[in-house]
Symmetry: C2
Subunit: 340 residues, 2 copies
DNA sequence: GCGGGATGTAGAAACGTTTCCAGACAGAGT
DNA sequence: ACTCTGTCTGGAAACGTTTCTACATCCCGC
């Protein structure tokens, strides 16, 4: 069987307490004692049992990241940074995908409770009544990222999506575009809504009106962008630029145009969102709005362990400012024929 | 604080043992007692603490899936099926990505040991000395999938990759192709090697010789396929068909050709591998070799819990037979000019 | 030479379950 | 009437840690 702390205690002639102290780097151990015990630990290959530790401490040193969408590399990047930070802080990070299914979300949150995991970093969750109901009575730290809930205060780390939407539209306007579409995801997240507002305000500021037909909502994946692009190609109108809800969608647009021999940015200017790795794969590098994925991930990690120590501090919202990254998918508007 | 089994015992006037019995559906509880206790459990919202349970049972009911590659949807599919099965069997499934980094792999395996997780399903791992060394002394059940290790016997569920390579090449040969390239991943997995063998044997059977220059090894991702396709386009030779190591790679080839206005399958026939979801997204649906991802996932799940019960049974290797799925990326060879 | 704060160590309780053991009771077979 | 077997229940040990309490010892300043 695996060696326990008692075995080490017996072998070294010391008590469990003392062995525990050397394991946990408690200063109240003499140099000789520490050396002797450490020697035995090393030669035995003893590793403390985290389950027992978890029982007395009241929590396992495991943080679960619950993510809606496994295709979005922005989340992957965010998680990877969070994991790195969590490891440094002594926690194991594991991943669960919900596929945006509220039932799965609930299942995972329940599992966290039952297993006394230390906390949760949750990346995107549509705001369902169950979720808000659950969140409000959860006993462990949870930090949301990317979107916040209007009905429940939580710790959250965000991008300033309003500003992101604003600079995306602003950039296209500066290039002379006048009819700018916005393709995004379902309307159930603050992230999407805030970006939309930013886009609308930029348009209005330029004296342009956003028409109903200019904003399309679909799935935030490559297929979504692909489909919308096909729809636009069939019925071009005078749209000369598109602001996409994320880079995956933007990629889908590029593919649809490439397949028909149309040129980006000549035939259409595209701004993505996220600046995820796929923004720079493929021939046309995307102009996009960079979210600071790694910084957000690290911040979320720090926030979640911070809350473990201070259970009752007020909830905090940390907002990162996105920035425009100009690459090859946008260019000055060449169409001058239409009105507006 | 959260209710414990003792609180329930006190409230119901019964002992902890009895409460435990109703929680675990032990038959030795009278109907009335069970009803009364269950009532209290329900009204209290009591949930047993898995950590305490894990301590006495010697393991947490958590299975970790360790996956090398988060981009490959075939693995995602496999994991999703495994998770489903594991949930049915009473286990929580969580995910860790190694990015093919042996150090991360080791870290996760260590975490499994320290946290007494119930077992591991590991999807792809390059066979490093550390890994084999670690695996041979692990105390928990582990089942490998997709590739097996030559130096350590383990439980493993596989696709018959040799046969997969064979039918892929055979299909292209049947379409009249003679110069068929094979683009795959690094040579460190049995999966790649077996597919290569199958492809070579099919070629030889047809009286054709595989030349060194026909087999390229790169990264098994879209970028890998894209790069190889570019290389081929620059220097076409007489290759008319390609058998790709997986669907992502095949997709990359399609994109490269589309961007240059070349037609698939007219200019190049492509066979992928996996039949992952991306095989049917995009305009050209891929001809590919289907691996039975969901069946493999479920099998892996069953295998891992099976081994928990029977620690000393001999290791098993379960092989699924892949099948060719013919779609739009392959067509009869039209080039008849060159010798072979 | 004596109280008093560090420093070092051991023993035992505690964490929340499961499970082993023992005992009570009932009905059935002799 | 008696064992015997099966059903039901409670008490307590066990799982492997951390941590609380208690007790030495030492050195310091008086």
């Amino acid at each position: 069987m695996k060696a326990t702390i008692k075995d080490i205690a017996k072998k070294s002639g010391h008590s469990c307490s003392t062995v525990s102290r050397v394991i946990n780097n408690n200063p109240y151990v003499s140099a000789e004692t520490r050396a002797r015990i450490q020697g035995i630990i090393d030669e035995t290959g003893f590793r403390p049992n985290n389950v027992a530790r978890g029982l007395v401490k009241g929590k396992m040193n495991v943080v679960v990241c619950i993510i809606g969408d496994r295709f979005n590399q922005f989340y992957a990047e965010l998680f990877s940074a969070a994991e790195e930070a969590l490891n440094e802080l002594g926690y194991l990070a594991v991943l669960c995908y919900t596929n945006y299914d509220p039932a799965k979300e609930e299942k995972y949150l329940e599992a966290v409770t039952e297993n006394n995991f230390a906390g949760v970093i949750m990346v995107t969750a549509p705001e369902t009544p169950q979720l808000t109901n659950n969140l409000s009575k959860l006993a462990f730290p949870i930090v949301l990222t990317n979107r916040y809930l209007v009905s429940v205060p939580t710790d959250v780390v965000l991008t300033d999506n309003y500003y992101g939407g604003y600079i995306a539209a602003r950039h296209l306007l500066d290039l002379g575009h006048r009819r700018i579409a916005h393709w995004s995801g379902p309307d159930n997240s603050t992230a999407s809504r805030d970006r939309l507002r930013g886009y609308c305000d930029a348009m209005q500021e330029a004296g342009l009106q956003v028409r109903d037909g200019d904003v399309w909502k679909g799935n935030l994946q490559e297929t979504g962008g692909y489909q919308f692009a096909c729809r636009l190609l069939e019925n071009p109108g005078d749209v000369t630029a598109v602001f996409c809800g994320n880079d995956m969608m933007a990629r889908g647009v590029v593919v649809a145009y490439a397949e028909r021999g149309r040129k980006i940015p000549d035939d259409l200017s595209i701004v993505g969102f996220d600046d995820s790795p796929i923004a720079v794969t493929g021939t046309v590098k995307l102009t996009t709005v960079r979210q600071h994925a790694r910084e957000m991930g690290r911040a979320a990690a720090e926030m979640v362990v911070n809350r473990m120590a201070n259970k009752d501090q007020p909830h905090r919202r940390l907002t990162f400012t996105p920035e425009l990254v100009i690459r090859e998918s946008t260019a000055a508007c060449r169409r001058t024929d239409g009105p507006l």
